[in-house]
C-alpha cells in the first residue's frame, strides 16, 4: 500500500481538492464564503503536494524500481499542483 500511496499521492490530493470544490459549488452555492473556502482548500491542496514532495525526496532511491517510483510520484505531484491551481482559478478570479 505504501508504494501505491507514494505513486498516487499527488493524484489523490487532486481528487480530494476537486470533489471538495464540486461540493462547495453544488451544495453551498456561490458567495464570498464559498470563494474563501475554495482559496483555503487550494492552499491546503498545494501544501499537501509540497509536504508529499518533501517527504519523497529523502526516500531511498537504491535500485531501478525505487528510482522509477520516485520519478512517477514527483511527476504526479507536479501535475496535481498545476491542475489544482488551474481548476480553482474560475472561482478565484471569476
Amino acid at each position: 500500500m505504501r508504494t501505491w500511496a507514494i505513486l498516487l499521492g499527488g493524484l489523490l490530493v487532486w481528487a480530494g481538492h476537486f470533489f471538495a470544490l464540486y461540493g462547495i459549488g453544488e451544495f453551498a452555492g456561490e458567495s464570498a464564503a464559498s470563494r474563501g473556502a475554495v482559496l483555503l482548500l487550494t492552499a491546503s491542496g498545494l501544501a499537501a503536494d509540497a509536504v508529499l514532495a518533501w517527504r519523497l525526496l529523502p526516500l531511498s532511491r537504491a535500485g531501478e524500481f525505487m528510482r522509477w517510483r520516485a520519478r512517477v510520484a514527483l511527476g504526479g505531484l507536479a501535475l496535481s499542483a498545476l491542475a489544482i491551481v488551474w481548476q480553482a482559478l474560475p472561482a478565484l478570479i471569476g
Binding site: L11, Y22, G25, E26, R71, L79, A83
Partner: protein
C-alpha cells in the same frame, strides 16, 4: 526495496537452468491444457478461445452498429428523404450509439485484454478463467437478444443516454426503454466481471521479475482501464436501476413534481459516461504505445511519462462528467470547475501523443499496416482532442451543444482514439493467433478508404453543426445550407464502410485460427513476451523478466523458454496452474491451481441474460426462475473450487519451493472480493449522493428524518453483525462449524437492523411513491436487503461445505471471503442508517 515478500532475488540467477528436462513433461502440459472437441467449445475457459470469441463477437456488434450508421447516413443524404420512418430512425440512432459504446467498444478492449494479457505477462491464463467465460457468454447471449429488439420494432428510442423525463413512463410508455435499462444490465455485470479478472491478473500473475517499472505499457493501460470500470460502472448500474424502478413501481427519483430531479439522472449517467470515453481510449492508447515502439524499431520514448499520463487520465477523467451539462443551468462556479478540469485532462492525453510522435521521429519509421493505422489514429485523435478543448469552453459549448459539431467531435475522438488503434492492433497481433498474417497490400487500401472516408464523413459535420443543424433529426428542410455537407458526409460514411468490407475480405482470405500453436509468429519483430513461442498453456516455461523489452534485450530468451529452462516448465500438481506473484516486484508467492472447462459458467451466463431479458418483456415468472437457476449455476461452479490440496509445497523450477494454498490478503481470492466490495460500495455511495443531491435541490419535499437517538438499536445490531463476522476467521481453526454459526448470526443481526431501520422510516411517514426522498431511502434499504440476502446465502453455502467436509482448516478462502462480505454488509448498513438520518436533519 530489495525484496517485497522476503524472496531472495539472487534465486533468479539460477535461470535459465542447464539440466535436461524430463521426458514427457511437455506432453503432459499439452494433455492438461488440451484442445476442446465438439460441444466443449461452449464450455471452454482458456483465454486463447474466450479472447477470440469475445473479440469476434465485439467486432460483429461493430459491423451491425456500422450498418445502422450507414442507414442513418442514407436517410440524411438529402433533405426530406423517406428511407427510414421517423420512429425507426429514433431507434436506429439509439441502437447505433448504445451498441457502439456498450456492446462494441468496452467489450472489444476487454477482449483484447483477455486474449493478450496472459501471453504478455507470461501467465498460463488469467486467474479466473471461468469468470472470463461467464463474462463473455453473458455479454454474447444478452447482447444478441438485445440487438434483436430492433427487428421487432421494440428497440430503445431515447438516445444512448436515455434522459428522463423523455424516458419516463409518461413519455415512453412502451417497453423500448426497458429494453435499454435492463438490456445493458448484463453488459454492466459482464464488464465488471472482466475488470476484476484483469486487475487481479495484471497485479498478481506477472512473470517473476516483471516489476511495475518493467510491465508492458498495455498492461498498465488495462490496469487503469479496469480500475476505472470498477469506479465508473456502479454509477450507471445505480442509474439504470433507479430509472427502471421509477418506471415499474412509480418511485419518483427523477420526477421534479414529486421531489425527484431529472438532473440527478444526468449526474449519474455522466459520472459513468465521460470516464467511459477514457475507459475506451486508454487500452487503445496502450496498444498504440506497444505498436509505435515496434514499428519504429526503437524503445518507447517516455515510458515513465506515459504511465503517469495513464494514471492521471484515470483520475482527472472523473472530474469532467458535468461538462455534458453546461446548458442545464448548473451554478456558474461549478460550471467553471468542470470547464477547467475538462481542459486539464488534455494534458495527460497530450503527453501520450507527444511520446508517440517522438518515438516515430527518432526511430526507423516503417509504414506497414499497423504503422499506417497508428499514424492515422494520431492525426484523427488530435483533431478530435482540439475540438474537445473547444467544447470545454462554456460559451462555445452553449452554441455547439446538441448540434452536429458535437457528433463530429465525438466521432473524431472515438474513431481516432479507439477504432483506428484497434485496427492497428488487429494487423499487429493477428500473426499471434492466426496461421497467416493479413495482407499488407490490401491493408493499404483498407487504411486509405477508412482514413479518407472517416474525414470525408465527419469533417463536414463540424460545418453543418456550426450552421445550426441539430443532432438526432431524422431529416431537414431544403434551403438551410445542410444539403452539401450531409451529402458529402454520406459519401464518406460509405467509403469508410467499404474500407471495413475490404478488411473483412482480407480476414476471410487470411485469418486461420491457430490457438494450439503454428501461428504466423513475430512478423513485426515485437519485443514483449506475447511473441514467445506458445501453445494453449501459453509459453512452455515462465521466464524471469529482467527488462521491459525482454526479447530484444536477450535474444536467447525465446529458445530457453521453449526448452523449459525457466519457471514452471511442466505441471507441478497435474492440474492447470500458474504462478501468483507479488503486486509490485512480481516475486513468486504461490502456485495457483486453476479450474478447467465447465458448463456452469455458460449456464450461469445464459440464465443471467435470461433473467434480464425476461424482466424486460414482463415475463416475471420466467425471470425469477432464470434468476434462481443463475444463482444455482454459480454456486455449483464455485463448489468445485477451494478444495484441499495434496502437496502443501511444490518445486516451480530450479528447486524453488512455493505453497499451493494461501489465504488472507496474500491470496488472489481476497483481492477479488475486495474489488467486488469496492463496486458495491461505489453503488452505495452514488445512492447516498442521490439522497444529498435531492435534499439540496428539492428542499420543499423533504420530510424530517427519524432522530439519530432512535437509531441506537440499529447501530448496535450492525456493530454486532460486524464483530460476529470478524470472529469467524480466527475461530475456524477450533471447529469448522463456528464460522457457519457466526455468519448466520451476523446475517440475522444485519437483517434485524434493516427491519428496524425500515420501520423507523415508515413510522416517520415516508413512502417510496410519495417523494424523491422516500424513493431514495427505500432504494438504500433495497440495496442493503440485497447485501443481507447475499450474506445469508453465503452462510448457507458455508454450512453446505462444512456438511460435505469440504471446508479446509485451519484456514479457508471460503470463510475469508464470506467474512469480508458480511463485515462490509454491516458497515454499509450502519453508514446508510446514519447518513439517511443526517441528511435533512433540522
Amino acid at each position: 526495496m530489495r525484496s517485497e515478500t522476503g524472496f531472495d532475488p539472487a534465486l533468479y540467477d539460477r535461470f535459465p537452468t542447464k539440466e535436461p528436462r524430463p521426458e514427457g513433461e511437455e506432453e503432459e502440459l499439452r494433455r492438461i491444457w488440451c484442445k476442446p472437441k465438439g460441444w466443449e467449445y461452449l464450455t471452454v475457459v482458456n483465454n486463447n478461445y474466450v479472447g477470440i470469441y469475445y473479440l469476434g463477437t465485439a467486432f460483429l456488434f461493430f459491423l451491425m452498429a456500422g450498418v445502422l450508421a450507414l442507414l442513418m447516413r442514407a436517410q440524411l443524404a438529402a433533405p426530406m428523404l423517406e428511407i427510414l420512418p421517423q420512429a425507426t430512425y429514433n431507434q436506429v440512432f439509439t441502437m447505433h450509439g448504445t451498441v457502439m459504446m456498450f456492446l462494441f467498444a468496452v467489450p472489444a478492449v476487454e477482449a483484447a485484454g483477455v486474449l493478450l494479457l496472459p501471453q504478455m505477462l507470461a501467465a498460463r491464463d488469467l486467474p479466473f478463467p471461468r469468470l472470463s467465460a461467464y463474462a463473455f457468454w453473458a455479454y454474447a447471449v444478452g447482447g444478441l437478444c438485445f440487438f434483436a429488439s430492433i427487428f421487432v420494432g421494440l428497440a430503445p428510442d431515447g438516445g444512448w443516454f436515455m434522459y428522463p423525463p423523455l424516458t419516463s413512463k409518461a413519455y415512453s410508455p412502451g417497453i423500448n426503454t426497458d429494453f435499454w435499462l435492463l438490456g445493458i444490465g448484463f453488459i454492466e455485470i459482464s464488464a465488471i466481471a472482466g475488470a476484476i479478472e484483469i486487475i487481479v491478473g495484471v497485479l498478481r500473475t506477472r512473470a517473476p521479475g516483471m516489476s511495475l517499472d518493467k510491465m508492458p505499457i498495455f498492461a498498465w493501460a488495462m490496469l487503469v482501464f479496469a480500475v476505472m470500470i470498477v469506479i465508473a460502472f456502479p454509477s450507471i448500474i445505480l442509474g439504470t436501476l433507479l430509472l427502471e424502478i421509477e418506471r415499474a413501481f412509480n418511485w419518483p427519483f427523477f420526477d421534479a413534481a414529486r421531489g425527484g430531479d431529472p438532473l440527478l439522472w444526468q449526474h449519474l449517467f455522466w459520472f459513468f459516461g465521460h470516464p467511459e470515453v477514457y475507459i475506451i481510449f486508454l487500452p487503445a492508447a496502450g496498444m498504440m504505445s506497444m505498436i509505435v515502439a515496434t514499428v519504429a524499431k526503437t524503445e518507447l520514448v517516455g515510458y515513465r511519462l506515459i504511465v503517469l499520463a495513464m494514471l492521471a487520465t484515470g483520475f482527472i477523467s472523473f472530474g469532467v462528467w458535468a461538462h455534458h451539462m453546461f446548458t442545464t443551468g448548473m451554478p456558474p462556479m461549478t460550471t467553471g470547475f468542470f470547464s477547467a478540469a475538462s481542459m486539464a485532462v488534455s494534458l495527460p492525453a497530450g503527453l501520450q501523443v507527444f511520446s508517440w510522435i517522438a518515438t516515430l521521429a527518432i526511430g526507423q519509421r516503417s509504414f506497414n499496416a499497423p504503422g499506417l493505422f497508428v499514424v492515422g489514429s494520431i492525426v484523427i485523435f488530435v483533431t478530435g482532442g482540439l475540438t474537445g478543448v473547444m467544447v470545454a469552453m462554456v460559451p462555445f459549448d452553449w452554441q455547439a451543444h446538441d448540434s452536429y459539431f458535437i457528433v463530429a467531435h465525438l466521432h473524431y475522438v472515438l474513431i481516432g482514439g479507439m477504432v483506428f488503434p484497434l485496427f492497428a492492433a488487429f494487423y499487429y497481433w493477428m500473426p499471434m493467433v492466426s496461421r497467416r498474417a493479413l495482407s499488407e497490400r490490401l491493408a493499404k487500401w483498407v487504411f486509405a478508404l477508412m482514413f479518407a472516408g472517416m474525414n470525408i464523413a465527419f469533417l463536414p459535420m463540424h460545418l453543418a453543426g456550426l450552421q445550426g443543424m441539430p443532432r438526432r433529426v431524422y431529416t431537414y428542410l431544403p434551403g438551410q445550407g445542410f444539403e452539401l455537407p450531409n451529402l458529402v458526409s454520406t459519401i464518406g460514411a460509405f467509403m469508410l464502410g467499404l474500407g471495413v468490407l475490404l478488411f473483412l475480405i482480407d480476414l476471410a482470405r487470411n485469418f486461420r485460427l491457430a490457438p494450439g500453436g503454428g501461428n504466423a509468429g513475430n512478423v513485426y519483430d515485437g519485443a514483449t513476451l506475447e511473441w514467445l513461442p506458445s501453445e494453449l498453456y501459453s509459453a512452455r516455461s515462465i521466464p524471469v523478466v529482467r527488462s521491459r523489452e525482454p526479447l530484444r534485450d536477450d535474444p536467447r530468451l525465446a529458445g530457453d523458454v521453449a526448452k523449459g529452462r525457466h519457471f514452471l516448465p511442466g505441471s507441478a500438481t497435474g492440474h492447470r496452474e500458474t504462478i501468483v506473484t507479488s503486486p509490485l516486484l512480481a516475486e513468486p508467492q504461490y502456485l495457483q491451481i486453476m479450474p478447467g472447462p465447465s458448463a456452469w459458467p455458460f449456464a450461469a451466463a445464459v440464465f443471467t441474460a435470461g433473467f434480464f431479458l425476461a424482466l424486460t418483456v414482463q415475463a416475471y415468472s420466467f425471470a425469477w426462475v432464470s434468476a434462481i437457476l443463475a444463482v444455482v449455476s454459480i454456486l455449483r461452479w464455485l463448489w468445485e473450487t477451494d478444495r484441499p490440496v495434496r502437496d502443501e509445497e511444490v518445486d516451480i523450477g530450479a528447486g524453488i519451493m512455493v505453497p499451493t494454498y494461501v489465504t488472507g490478503p496474500a491470496s488472489h481470492g481476497w483481492w477479488t472480493m475486495v474489488i467486488l466490495l469496492v463496486v458495491m460500495a461505489m453503488i452505495f455511495i452514488m445512492a447516498l449522493f442521490s439522497l444529498a443531491f435531492l435534499a439540496s435541490n428539492q428542499p420543499a419535499f423533504w420530510a424530517p428524518p427519524p432522530s439519530m437517538a432512535a437509531g441506537l438499536p440499529i447501530y448496535f445490531l450492525y456493530g454486532a453483525a460486524f464483530l460476529a463476522a470478524l470472529a469467524a476467521r480466527p475461530l475456524l481453526k477450533r471447529d469448522a462449524r463456528w464460522p457457519v454459526g457466526l455468519f448466520f448470526a451476523s446475517a440475522f443481526a444485519a437483517g434485524s437492523a434493516l427491519w428496524l431501520d425500515w420501520t423507523g422510516w415508515s413510522a416517520a411517514g415516508l413512502a417510496p411513491q410519495a417523494s424523491g426522498q422516500g424513493a431514495v431511502i427505500a432504494a438504500l434499504q433495497a440495496l442493503q436487503a440485497f447485501a443481507v440476502g447475499t450474506g445469508l446465502l453465503m452462510a448457507a453455502y458455508c454450512a453446505a461445505r462444512v456438511a460435505r467436509g469440504l471446508m479446509t482448516q485451519p484456514r479457508s478462502n471460503t470463510v475469508d471471503l464470506a467474512m469480508l462480505f458480511l463485515c462490509y454488509t454491516a458497515a454499509q448498513g450502519l453508514t446508510g442508517a446514519l447518513f439517511g438520518r443526517a441528511i435533512g436533519m433540522t
